[in-house]
């Protein structure tokens, strides 16, 4: 029996999941950072107090790392309010999620727990288990020195080796270290050649200290770069005059789809044209891998039309540069792989996806009409929801389509929104008749489209709870078998 309270609960949970997928507390096109953080803080507080179970279960969904860290912190801060059963369930979820977090985020989270003076038994146990599961504490000691030190201090743990303890707390006590990495770190203080055996982020500081020119440093540290570091650095390295740092085709082929899309959009248009075959190939390959990873079938979605937003607001902001556009571009390639027959419609009217750039207004209503003209089985709209040419036309077109032209739901329509709207505590919706879901990585698209059905019409709380439970199960089960393929690698 559905009660009014159940409906509200289901809507609140959906709203929170959308926020947790998209909100990062950073500046967006339409809103400032402070506004975003305030809005997210409120949502977390509200969820924690009213729906603690679903709040913890959100860790099992594809929410972003920022919100995952916030959830973990709040759950640990309020251990006292949880029942024994809840604590058990939360503990497993937290442990699994911590494994997936990039180590720097996990260490920062522990630092925040220290600042908040959260040091209950549960917290200590969780941090202990996480530290024990780290593959190489010596590497962590060098690469995340302050973080590891803080974590050990906070939880009163002993380092795995006595030497590591000395390294962290009294580095000058020893003349030499047995562990090669620690000893390299010691030598790098006075011996320039030693710093090239350190991880890049550590070596960078030493290079500065020794006054090594940037270009020379980049040339020699090149073999130690991780894939992402190489990608991030190659443009600035070329400007500095270091030619060795290049992301080869093999590196591109390993990249996750959305990250690759971001990378492509960061290239100047002339480069994109010159490397068209290579980039398109890499994007298509990444999309195919994402489809396989999601357990979907290539070409299994039939006739698909997509309306993709490349208006000026897709630029995002200085801190999330071209993020909404990258999400749209990644969705474009993923949908092309999923669809049997695919039509892409960019709001600007351009047809060459590889040369996408944010510009112009957002005539979503017109584009949706064009998309519906192709009589698709599925229509996917990727947009930040600021429909402004004219405002509200998309909502009207979708309403008329649903109520008058397609009441029997021949076309399934879903709106994916990569941008959190701080004012509305949710992603912006286009129309009440069309489900809207937050979008982080295009790779999650098949799961999101499934999840979005909850947002269509009346939401059934029982069904939603069952879905969350199932996701939690599979999330924890995956932890037993191995790491998520997309998880970040620390060293090469």
């Amino acid at each position: 029996m559905e009660t009014y309270g159940d409906l509200v609960a289901a809507e609140d949970v959906l709203l929170f999941v959308n926020a947790a997928i998209t909100g990062t507390g950073q500046r967006e096109f339409h809103g400032g950072a402070a506004e975003q953080q305030l809005s997210l803080e409120f949502l977390h507080e509200y969820m924690l107090i009213n729906y603690r179970g679903p709040y913890a279960a959100a860790l099992a969904l594809d929410i972003n790392d920022h919100n995952a860290a916030l959830i973990v912190r709040r759950l640990l801060e309020t251990s006292r309010d949880a029942t024994a059963e809840q604590r058990h369930a939360e503990g497993r979820l937290i442990a699994r999620r911590l494994e997936l977090l990039p180590p720097k985020r996990a260490y920062r989270l522990i630092g925040e727990l220290r600042r908040a003076k959260v040091n209950n038994r549960r917290t200590r146990a969780i941090v202990r288990d996480w530290l024990a599961a780290r593959p190489d504490q010596t590497l962590d000691a060098v690469k995340y020195r302050a973080g590891l030190k803080r974590a050990l201090r906070h939880t009163h743990l002993r380092p795995a080796a006595v030497e590591t303890g000395d390294f962290l707390y009294a580095p000058r006590r020893r003349g030499a270290y047995q562990a090669p990495l620690l000893d390299t770190w010691r030598r790098a203080h006075h011996q320039q050649s030693a710093l090239y055996e350190l991880p890049y982020t550590v070596a960078e500081g030493f290079a500065r200290r020794h006054g090594i020119p940037r270009a020379a440093f980049l040339e020699r540290i090149e073999p130690r770069l991780t894939g992402l570091e190489r990608l991030r650095l190659q443009e600035s390295a070329r400007a500095a005059g270091a030619t060795a740092v290049t992301a080869d085709g093999a590196a591109l082929a390993r990249m996750p789809l959305t990250r690759l899309a971001s990378y492509v959009l960061g290239l100047p248009p002339a480069d994109r044209v010159a490397r068209r075959t290579e980039l398109t190939g890499a994007l298509r390959g990444a999309a195919r891998r994402a489809v396989r990873a999601a357990g979907a079938e290539e070409g299994g979605w039939g006739r698909v039309a997509a309306v993709l937003d490349d208006s000026w607001s897709a630029y995002g902001s200085g801190v999330k540069r071209r993020r909404p556009l990258a999400a749209a571009l990644a969705c474009h390639f993923l949908l092309a792989a999923l669809a049997g027959e695919y039509t892409a419609l960019w709001t600007s009217g351009r047809t060459d996806a590889l040369l996408a750039r944010p510009s112009g207004p957002t005539p979503l209503g017109r584009r949706i009409l064009d998309a519906l003209d192709t009589a698709p089985q599925r229509l996917v709209i990727v947009s930040d929801g600021w429909d402004n040419a004219p405002p509200g036309l998309a909502a009207e077109v979708l309403r008329v389509w649903r109520t008058r032209l397609d009441p029997e739901h021949r076309t399934s329509i879903v709106h994916l929104n990569p941008v959190y709207d701080a004012e509305g505590f949710d992603v912006r919706r286009l129309a009440p008749t069309v489900p809207t879901a937050g979008l982080r990585d295009a790779e999650d698209l098949p799961a999101l489209v499934e999840f979005a059905r909850f947002a269509e019409g009346r939401t059934d709380l029982a069904e939603l709870t069952a879905h969350l439970a199932a996701r939690t199960e599979s999330f924890l089960a995956a932890g037993a078998t191995g790491r998520r393929p997309g998880a970040e690698e620390t060293v090469r």
């Binding site: 096109f29 957002t362 017109r366 405002p391 509200g392 077109v397």
Partner: protein, 393 residues
């Protein structure tokens, strides 16, 4: 100097410019104007001035002092061929990679409000032509030395004449609204509404010029009215499309027709109703300079109290088509001042007949002159007599 606006009455006409849907941010509504065919043979671009104040000598021992954040430079071609924006250089392909920025002419203190810089280039200070036109309205003072006017009024006219305005960045919400505004392809103009009061209209010849000059709307001047409206207004609602009035829709093509109808409805509503205060009244233009087939003119309204009144400057081509437009909305007290001066001038500054034409008694008109800030024009004893008379009534 007396610059009484002359020339025939004319109306502003946005022909050739299509109105597109407005974008709203807080209390600011921005309406883009799109040109189907850009004007290629007249180009505008911006010059930024570093000194904070500019002094322009306008006569012997007379300077026009102004805060001039930027100036515009108009380039035109004699024979109708496309003109390049100043600063464009033709280079051998090998030199394109070189990063030296194009040289710019530095203007320290502008010599004239509108100055010809070369045979086909004119520099002018945006809005200042219009404002100067307003400030200089009947600047000479009484044309006949009736006994009521003070010595000073007869000798020096209205000098010094001052008006206040706010820079765009002091208008709350305007900066954000311009930042999040999504420029339409082919856009050549913008109409700015603050709390749904028409604050300014801005039109340029070419979309590229508009793209470059979009941010300069923040450097422009806005009247007191607009500043206060922005400060006090709540967010204005969007005009959302509504297909419920279109009747039953049974196919996609009917839906498409309904959508087109909505777009037309907005255009008509904007041009007839929202911009009516700018487009309907008559203006008196005064030509400032000819630029090839174009002419630069400033215009003044007829100063109708309690209504919208805009002053501005425009460049029109030989068919009267707008190539450039910039307007400034006068606030209510500025309109009253303009109206008063017009009435006085129309009656050769003869107070009794001017009062009769306004339906006032002479003392009432005297006090109105004082209220408008022109007390120094009247002789002190005359003003005192008016005050006493007003007390008696």
């Amino acid at each position: 100097m007396t610059t009484t606006p002359s020339g025939p009455a004319f109306r502003l006409d946005l022909a050739g410019l299509d109105t597109r849907p407005a974008q709203v941010w807080g209390g600011v509504r921005l309406v883009p104007l799109v040109r189907a065919e850009p004007i290629e043979d007249l180009r505008l671009h911006q010059e930024l001035y570093e000194p904070e104040y500019a002094a322009v000598p306008v006569g012997r021992r007379t300077d026009y002092l102004a805060y001039v954040p930027h100036g515009f430079v108009a380039d035109w071609a004699q024979d109708g061929t496309p003109a390049a924006a100043y600063g464009t250089r033709l280079d051998a392909p090998s030199a394109i990679g070189a990063t030296a920025p194009p040289e710019r002419i530095r203007v320290r203190a502008p010599r004239r409000l509108a100055k010809r810089e070369s045979r086909t280039r004119l520099r002018f200070l945006p809005l200042h032509l219009a404002l100067e036109g307003y400030l200089a309205l009947h600047f000479g003072g009484p044309t006949i030395a009736w006994e009521e006017w003070s010595d000073r009024a007869v000798r020096h006219g209205l000098s010094p004449r001052a008006e206040e305005a706010y820079a765009g960045d002091r208008v709350r919400g305007l900066a954000d609204a311009l930042r999040v505004f999504e420029i339409h392809p082919g856009q050549c103009g913008l109409v700015v509404y603050v709390a749904d009061a028409l604050a300014a209209a801005f039109v340029v010849p070419h979309p590229d010029d508009y793209r470059a000059l979009h941010r300069t709307l923040l450097l422009d001047l806005y009247g007191e009215l607009i500043h206060h409206y922005a400060l006090l207004s709540a967010a204005v609602p969007d005009f959302r499309a509504d297909l419920r009035m279109a009747g039953p829709v049974n196919s996609l093509s009917e839906l498409r027709a309904a959508v087109a109808g909505q777009e037309r409805a907005w255009t008509d509503f904007h041009d007839d109703t929202m911009a009516g205060g700018l487009l309907d009244p008559d203006y008196r233009a005064r030509e400032v300079r000819r630029l090839g087939r174009f002419r630069l003119a400033r215009f003044l309204p007829e100063f109708r109290p309690k209504q919208e009144n805009h002053i501005g400057e425009a460049i029109t081509d030989e068919h009267g088509r707008l190539a450039y437009l910039k307007t400034f909305r006068l606030s209510e007290s500025q309109v009253r001042r303009g109206h008063l001066l017009e009435r006085l001038a129309a009656h050769q500054w003869h107070l009794p007949s001017a009062a009769a034409s306004l339906g006032l008694t002479e003392p009432q008109l005297g006090l109105r002159i004082e209220g408008a800030g022109f007390a120094s024009l009247l002789r002190q004893d005359v003003l005192d007599r008016y005050r006493r008379a007003a007390l008696r009534y």
